[in-house]
């Protein structure tokens, strides 16, 4: 339950060993490499090895080919450093062109089919015509056009009723009239213009079609079938071609993937003359593993140093947590990774998160169901959120047991306490209006306790960092702690009627002194750093300090009150479930259905809200007191 101890490793060798070294380097499992730019910029004479990655362009060309022709090339690396990018590019372009050419042929056939299909629809729509199409289209003095006219335009033909044409509509669908018009060669152009202005779409009947529309239909259908057959054959041939290309290109892809990783790895290489170095961090326990990885390469040196020995490089943080708190690291990392050498707040976070969630969302049935969902999610999707759901679900179930709440039914567990455990009633009676105040005060007490713990952790962290001013003078240090604890104790004693400690002998050391210390923190810190105590004059300082102090005192109140939501959610959960139970009773027989959906609805809605609210309490009320999160995460080359 801490931050893993690491070592700074520097691998160096002569340049002729670079490829050999990188081939092993890319397989390192637990190694956080340092970008060469971090080192090169600080020392004159060093060079970086990050030229343009020639693989990227070719890989995207190949990816396009894969997408276009549905090639399923495996992502298996082929380890070979014998490469010629020009040749790679040529092979891919040639394959692409050949496949495209073949596809074009299929597309031409498809276009032809679309045309014949149109003609087929046309002849189907003029089926009632009992005249051979040859006779119509071979007339010398009458020209005929077949096609479709928008329904709206048919009516407009009456504008042209004195023009020399004959219009015949054969059938109508929703938008078009399937028709023919006839005119003489003399008026052909004019009549064509009129029809075109009315959006007539001419459909050409292919030359090979003869006979009556019925006969034409057959001919067209046969031709379409023939073309479809052709396309199928061509598709099979194309498939065979793509299979063949897939085989040839998969080796090439494998090689490219491997080379790409080598190129990417060069971003970590620093050059100096004819030698190179690669720096990075690994866990202490893995140092030998790293050494073994490079065993057998002549002239390769591996230097192992403490992590902070190179001031230019900030050591990364690798969180090491136990099974319980491990999944909660995603929430901690979302806020920020702790600095190397700092403290890892994950265990504290995990426990408080589960406790608060359980208190706010206490329901035995829903809690167990949530844990089950979490289990399924964790096993099936390997989700960390699923693992969190298991833990918070179990806490929710535990508190649900204390509240005697099972899927919103507040009475079902009462016999367990009264008959089995022989208690007078349930341990906590939420629905009783008399317990509302107790719940809210309880919530505030939990909040106060958590704030005290957070201040305590802040003091511990600052002691480790040797920030003594913060330890003693800050509102998150001893000064703040004494003030806060005193106020809480005084309030508690007066509420319980055990005495009044709000008297001068107490007020001076427990309120006056801490507040003066907090007030004077900034000038004392400046004095400690050897600077002027009041750079902008005492008047300005007093003015500014007063408001800051006011803000500090106010923040203690608001932060504590913030925990009131813990009590609020206990009540709102019970309230929402009361609505569900009432609805169940109202609908009668289908009550069970309302019960299921109501429970699911409350679980999703409230579960989500409570989850977010607890996260808010963790981040704002606690993290802000003891946690910076300004470290960098440990990332291996494979991440």
């Amino acid at each position: 339950m801490s931050i893993a101890k690491t070592k700074l490793i520097t691998i160096s060798s002569s340049l002729d060993k670079l490829d050999q070294t990188l081939m092993r380097f890319i397989d390192l499992e637990d190694f956080h490499p340092v970008f060469s730019s971090k080192i090169v910029e600080t020392v004159h004479g060093l060079t970086s090895f990050s030229p343009d990655n020639a693989c990227t362009g070719i890989i995207s060309e190949l990816a396009q080919l894969e997408r276009e022709f549905n090639l399923d090339l495996p992502n298996l690396e082929v380890r070979s450093t014998d490469y010629d990018f020009e040749k790679f590019h040529q092979t891919i372009t040639e394959s692409h062109n050949l496949l495209k050419e073949y596809l074009e042929k299929i597309k031409e056939d498809q276009a032809l089919i679309a045309k014949y299909q149109e003609a087929l629809t046309q002849v189907k729509n003029i089926e009632s015509l009992d005249v051979s199409l040859d006779d119509i289209f071979s007339c010398r003095y009458v020209y005929a056009r077949a096609g479709r006219l928008p329904i709206d335009s048919v009516e407009k033909l009456k504008y042209y009723r004195n023009r020399p044409f004959v219009f015949k509509s054969f059938s109508n669908d929703q938008s078009f009239s399937w028709c023919m018009y006839f005119t003489t060669p003399e008026y052909e152009r004019e009549i064509d213009n009129i029809f075109s202005s009315l959006f007539f779409e001419r459909i050409r009947i292919p030359d090979f079609v003869h006979g009556t529309p019925e006969k034409a239909e057959e001919t067209l259908q046969t031709e379409i079938n023939r073309l479809n057959g052709d396309i199928e054959t061509k598709n099979q041939e194309l498939q065979a071609m793509t299979d063949d290309y897939s085989r040839r290109l998969s080796t090439l892809k494998g090689q490219l993937l491997f080379l790409n990783r080598i190129f990417e790895a060069k971003r970590y290489v620093v050059g100096l003359g004819d030698r190179f170095t690669i720096s990075g961090f690994t866990e202490v326990a893995n140092v030998d593993k790293v050494k073994n990885q490079f065993a057998g390469i002549d002239d390769l040196e591996i230097e192992v140093r403490p992590p902070g020995s190179d001031k230019r490089i900030m050591p990364p943080t690798k969180l090491k947590n136990g099974w319980f708190s491990r999944p909660f690291s995603i929430f901690v990392e979302m806020y920020g990774v702790p600095a190397y050498g700092g403290i890892d707040p994950t265990p504290f976070f995990a426990i408080t998160y589960c406790l608060l969630f359980g208190v706010m969302f206490g329901d035995l049935g829903q809690g167990l169901l949530l844990a089950l969902f979490g289990l399924i999610l964790a096993k099936w999707k390997k989700s960390k959120l699923g693992e969190i759901a298991i833990r918070i679900g179990l806490f929710s179930a535990f508190f649900g047991l204390l509240y005697g709440s099972f899927f919103g039914n507040e009475e079902i567990l009462t016999p367990f306490y009264t008959d089995v455990l022989h208690m007078a009633s349930k341990p906590i009676e939420i629905m009783d209006s008399g317990s509302t105040m107790t719940l809210l005060i309880g919530a505030l007490s939990i909040g106060a306790l958590l704030i005290i713990l957070a201040i305590g952790m802040g003091i511990y962290t600052n002691l480790r960092k040797r920030k003594y001013i913060e330890v003693f003078f800050s509102h998150n240090g001893f000064a703040g702690l004494i003030f806060y604890v005193y106020v809480l104790v005084a309030l508690a004693l007066s509420m319980l009627g055990l005495g009044n400690i709000l008297t001068w002998p107490f007020l001076i050391p427990f309120i006056g002194v801490p507040l003066i210390l907090i007030f004077m923190k900034e000038p004392i810190a400046r004095k400690h750093e050897g600077k002027k105590m009041f750079p902008s004059g005492i008047g300005g300082f007093v003015m500014e300090g007063f408001f800051e102090l006011f803000d500090v005192v106010l923040s203690y109140v608001t932060n504590t009150m913030s925990f009131m939501r813990v009590g609020g959610f206990i009540l709102s959960h019970a309230g929402m479930m009361l609505v569900v139970t009432s609805l169940m009773e109202m609908v009668g027989n289908s009550g069970w259905l309302v019960g299921i959906f109501g429970n699911l609805f409350v679980m999703l809605l409230e579960g989500l809200i409570v989850g977010i609210q607890v996260l808010r309490l963790e981040y704002y009320e606690m993290f802000s007191r003891y946690y910076d999160g300004n470290g960098i995460a440990f990332q291996t080359i494979k991440q």
Binding site: E118, Y159, S175
Partner: protein, 345 residues
């Protein structure tokens, strides 16, 4: 029952609005190179899928596509009007007046260009049940006098009367268009005043005032950019009577030498944003486009029938105009940047 009918209009309008073209749709369309591409895109869009279902995308004529888009908008408005109660139905029927004016202008354009077939092909025959004049007669008019006579029993006659007795190529189209638009807006404000009071009246008036402002701006841009019109011509086409931008400023905008600088001017002027007292932004002028939020606001938040209906109507008109601008822009090979400047969304 009345409240029920009102709710039906609001629900129907909002459901049709839900299928509108989004900014991303416009962005996609302005990048297209051909009209068939736009037709294919719209055919796959839920709002236009039904009306464009049977078209052949590759051979569709620009005019046919535009006619179908207009028909779609008209059908959708008709569906809403069905539910209107008698009391203020004349307000709801304003849309028909606008469509009739469009038809008259279309007929006049075809007269000027002597292409009478265009008038016939563009006349929306589906409107014949709803129109206040005989569409067949009007669209077969061969001169402005004939047209005016065919419209004698309508208020349009009075508007056309001063411009009669001229040869087709001498028809003062720009002035007639202006007068018809002014007639329309006079009618709009008159009907709003007759039917509504207080805050609702003010809000309805604001919707139209904003619409007029946007129309004026786009008109200046189009006339300068594509017709290279002079100061006087542009000034005469604008609706001054209901302009929110004062005369002097409007003159300054018209006088800008470069049409592209209009939006730059507005972007930097006090008109950049037009918002209400609650700081809700109605119109924003940017250098590359215009954002229009007023009608959208009512579509989202209002439950008042006249407001939702008016907002629906205006958004529907704007969408149709946007599509016309895109289709014509592509047809005349304008760049996507140029087309975008004429779009409002």
């Amino acid at each position: 029952m009345i409240a029920f009918a009102g709710n039906a209009i609001v629900a129907k309008a909002k459901s049709i609005y839900g299928k509108r073209l989004m900014a991303s749709d416009y962005e996609a369309m302005i990048k297209m190179k051909t009209v068939p591409e736009v037709a294919a895109f719209l055919r796959n869009h839920p709002k236009y899928a039904e009306i464009l279902r049977d078209i052949s995308v590759d051979s569709i004529h620009r005019g046919q596509l535009e006619a179908l888009i207009k028909k779609n908008a008209f059908n959708q408005t008709l569906r809403l009007i069905k539910f209107v109660q008698i009391k203020d139905s004349d307000f709801f029927r304003l849309n028909l007046v606008q469509r009739e004016i469009d038809i008259i202008l279309e007929i006049l354009r075809s007269m000027i260009s002597e292409s009478f077939d265009t008038a016939i092909s563009d006349v929306p025959y589906y409107m014949k049940q709803n129109s206040s004049f005989d569409l067949f007669q009007a669209s077969s008019s061969k001169s402005i006098d004939e047209l005016a006579n065919n419209l004698q029993k309508t208020p349009y006659f009075t508007v056309l009367k001063p411009y009669m007795a001229v040869a087709n190529h001498d028809i003062d189209y720009v002035q007639i268009e202006h007068d018809l638009e002014l007639y329309y807006y006079d009618l709009v404000f008159q009907r709003i005043q007759e039917n509504y009071h207080g805050k609702l009246r003010k809000e309805l008036e604001t919707i139209y005032l904003t619409r007029i402002e946007l129309e004026n701006i786009i008109k200046i841009y189009r006339l300068k950019k594509f017709y290279h019109a002079d100061f006087g011509t542009i000034k005469n086409t604008l609706i001054h009577k209901y302009s929110r931008i004062e005369e002097k400023k409007l003159d300054e905008i018209i006088a800008l030498p470069n049409p592209d600088s209009i939006l730059i001017y507005l972007d930097k002027s006090e008109f950049q944003r037009f918002s209400d007292d609650k700081e809700y932004i109605y119109v924003e002028y940017y250098v590359e486009k215009i954002n229009y939020n007023l009608a959208k606001r009512y579509m989202y938040f209002s439950g008042s029938v006249p407001k939702v209906y008016t907002a629906f109507l205006i958004l529907s008109e704007i969408e149709t105009e946007n599509l016309t601008n895109i289709i014509e822009g592509i047809r005349y090979q304008l760049t996507d940047v140029e087309i975008k400047k004429m779009l409002i969304y």
